[in-house]
Amino acid sequence: MLGRTAQNLFWLSRYIERAENMARMFEVGYRMSLTSRREGSASEHLISMMQAAEVEEGFSRKHKQADVNAVAHYMIFDEENPSSVRSCLLAARTNARSVRTALTIEMWESINAAWLEFAEIRPRDVTGARLQELLGWIKQVSHTYRGALLSTFLRDAGYAFSQIGNFVERADNTARILDMKYYVLLPRATLVGGDVDIQQWTMILRAASAHRSYRHVYHDRYKAWNIADYLILRPEMPRSLGFCVSWINRTIDMLEEIYGARTAGHDAADAVTELLEGTTVDRIFEYGLHEFLTEFINRNNRMTDALAESYNFY
């Protein structure tokens, strides 16, 4: 397999996952702006959400005021925002075109159809209920692609690179969604543990599609400690950092088996694993949630670099 093909498959999956997560992040910010007025103005919620999504700087350069329409446009449609849903879908399709021969028809069609449909949407038509509908559609695109991949893609190195890309991105996003809590609460740290705090943690669970499954696991009210445990450590939660990392490890082992060699990518994955192994939520809060997440994101990035180096991405 060409190194470029491996790279394109890796990024293709990342972009699809990112489009989904941008929709999720925006959804949370949007809901907070509608329902958590006591805790701050609508624009404060949107701004903290954009900080977590790392798109706030670019937004402020273009817009003075963070209102829902401006933020929705920036995060969904803006071509100048490299992480907007539009940019992600276009990048995914461009990557897919470059490696069309490495994809199954079903994978290609799901991406191509999504892009064609998205390109038809006129941003100014999308407000209110239509906006909610669109966010749902974006998540659906990602599910369709992943479904096509899981049910049609040959389980060889190409599959491994796709999966690693998918879960590296997902881990990064879950870490950022959790970190949003930090940004949201930063000016009002005194309220940690209060009702309002819980309401915001709920939003975060929602962003991870985890607000219902939480009950199955904890049989308990929403509690900050549990939620952090759920999204960071729980092995059965498919968006938790622990789940993503163990999936990445399994896939990297698969590459080792296919190629008969261990690489620097493995060492970098071990470094991410170490951070999670044997730790507890207590220790994480003690260390500082924000500090922990930042360290995780850094090690996760280093893993991408190491993989690129080991498998001749260029």
Partner: protein
């Protein structure tokens, strides 16, 4: 201007149906009124979903267009096809022999059958190819011959296209579309398959692998990348024959051998189906500013460590000025008379012929020697006085830049247009593969001028395509 109506491939002069079209005619009559427009919109969404598009140069990123597909197939009888394919085979054998000769002893120039200045001063002549021996002596492996029909047995070759002819993916996808849209027609008619093309292409490429390549040579398709207008075709062909689709940056040359950069390091490449023009192949040998090619590729080729499909320098045999000599070329190498006709061509550098051309512009077709895509072309009978005046000046200013031919009455095929089924002019591009043998896929790409009366079939000028059916006996 001639008043004889063009040859209608479906109807005899008395309005009765020609044999190959009898069953299609029955089928068309059975279709309820809306069926054909439904089929057309189904076909369109099918093509769009599969991404069978071509990029439009100069427009925004992400703008890709569909070539209109006409759902009424063009039908050619087994007998007609046998005749046609014999003529095509003769032509490609002679032209490959010509290329070998031009890049070796140049006997045909010494014999004075083709003027020396026409070859040696031609920009399509590639001096770097002199004395080089490609595997099996084949230069042009993949050929798309442009043919027009003017009568029941009257076929003319318009162009030979020996460089990197495109369009074969449309031939294959048009067939797929027809199989999905009208399967019952295939039950009633025995249509020769075209699906074997990718496998035959693979076999052809394997047969011209370098002598030092392993038993199962490594084949790749080399593309300029996703922004090229024919990118879909490049990826389609690579996929269909199971070859790696590479860009220049994926390949490199070391010690005279070509390698691709894989996840596990370098892997040797044996045969390259390159869809990059000669000039851009290798910045060390050809254009130094090429970002698309592979530095050192030509040296590896010269050393016999890799095969390029097609060879560089094949353009000298399909040059519009050399075209005039193809009948002599066939006679010279094969000792046979040409089976397919050449369109008579006026040479504007000859005073007498130029005078005739300028007198009769409203009857003639004027083409730029190096033009393509239907641009820079004058179709006399459809032209205005002003356009003719413009071309008169152009020809006088640069007589060597134009060739002039009589306007051919291209045959017509029934075509589904806005107002129902109506005759439209068509041409045909059959695809030929040359390796250990010459193999012609039965059928080819039929291009159709969708505008009423138009003779220009190029997709850039509002042309569409049809599936082309060769019937089996």
């Amino acid at each position: 201007m001639s008043v004889t109506p063009p040859f209608d491939e479906m109807h005899n002069a008395d309005g009765s149906i020609r044999d190959p079209y009898l069953i299609l005619d029955e089928w068309l009559k059975e279709q309820p009124p809306q069926a054909l427009s439904l089929m057309r919109s189904d076909a369109e969404s099918l093509f769009r979903r599969l991404g069978i598009t071509f990029a439009v140069y100069g427009s925004n990123e992400g703008t890709e267009k569909l070539i209109p597909f006409d759902i009424i197939p063009r039908i050619i009888s087994a007998k007609e096809w046998r005749r046609l394919s014999k003529g095509i085979e003769q032509r490609v054998r002679a032209l490959n022999a010509f290329l070998h000769d031009i890049y070796h002893r140049q006997e045909i120039l010494k014999a004075g059958r083709v003027p020396e200045r026409l070859i040696l001063n031609n920009s399509a002549f590639c001096p770097e190819m002199m004395g080089l021996d490609p595997a099996r002596g084949v230069y042009s492996h993949i050929i798309g011959v442009d043919i027009v029909r003017v009568g029941p047995d009257d076929f003319y070759v318009l162009e030979d296209n020996l460089r990197t002819p495109s369009g074969v993916s449309y031939m294959l996808e048009n067939r797929e579309a027809m199989l999905q849209l009208a399967p019952e027609l295939f039950q009633r008619l025995k249509v020769a398959p075209v699906e074997t093309y990718p496998e035959t292409l693979r076999r052809t490429m394997e047969s011209v692998a370098p002598a030092n390549a392993p038993g199962s040579p490594n084949l790749v398709v080399l593309t300029p990348g996703i922004h090229n207008s024919a990118y879909f075709e490049h990826s389609f062909l690579a996929d269909q024959m199971g070859a790696e689709l590479c860009e220049g940056q994926d390949l490199f040359v070391e010690n005279g051998k070509v390698y691709m950069r894989t996840t596990t390091g370098p892997e040797r490449v044996d045969v390259i189906y390159r869809r990059i023009d000669d000039d851009f192949l290798d910045p060390l040998t050809f254009r130094p500013d090429s970002m698309l090619g592979v530095p050192g590729l030509f040296d590896a080729y010269r050393a016999g460590n890799v095969t390029l499909v097609n060879a560089p320098g094949t353009g000298i045999a399909d040059d519009k000025a050399v075209y005039t000599y193809v009948p002599q070329i066939i006679e010279f190498y094969l000792g046979e008379k040409a089976l397919l006709k050449n369109v008579p061509t006026y040479n504007c550098t000859n005073d007498e012929e130029r005078a005739y051309v300028l007198e009769h512009l409203e009857e003639l077709v004027v083409k730029e020697v190096h033009g393509s895509g239907g641009y820079g072309m004058l179709v006399g009978p459809a032209s205005t006085r002003q356009m003719r005046e413009e071309f008169r000046k152009k020809i006088l200013a640069r007589p060597d830049n134009y060739i002039v031919q009589p306007t051919l009455a291209l045959s017509t095929c029934p075509t589904f247009v806005d107002r129902g089924i109506a005759p439209r002019h068509v041409d045909l591009r059959p695809y030929v593969l040359v390796g250990d043998d010459v193999r012609i896929t039965p059928g080819g790409l039929t291009r159709v001028a969708l505008k009423k009366g138009s003779l220009v079939v190029n997709s850039s000028q509002g042309g569409g395509t049809k599936d082309t059916w060769v019937l089996e006996d």
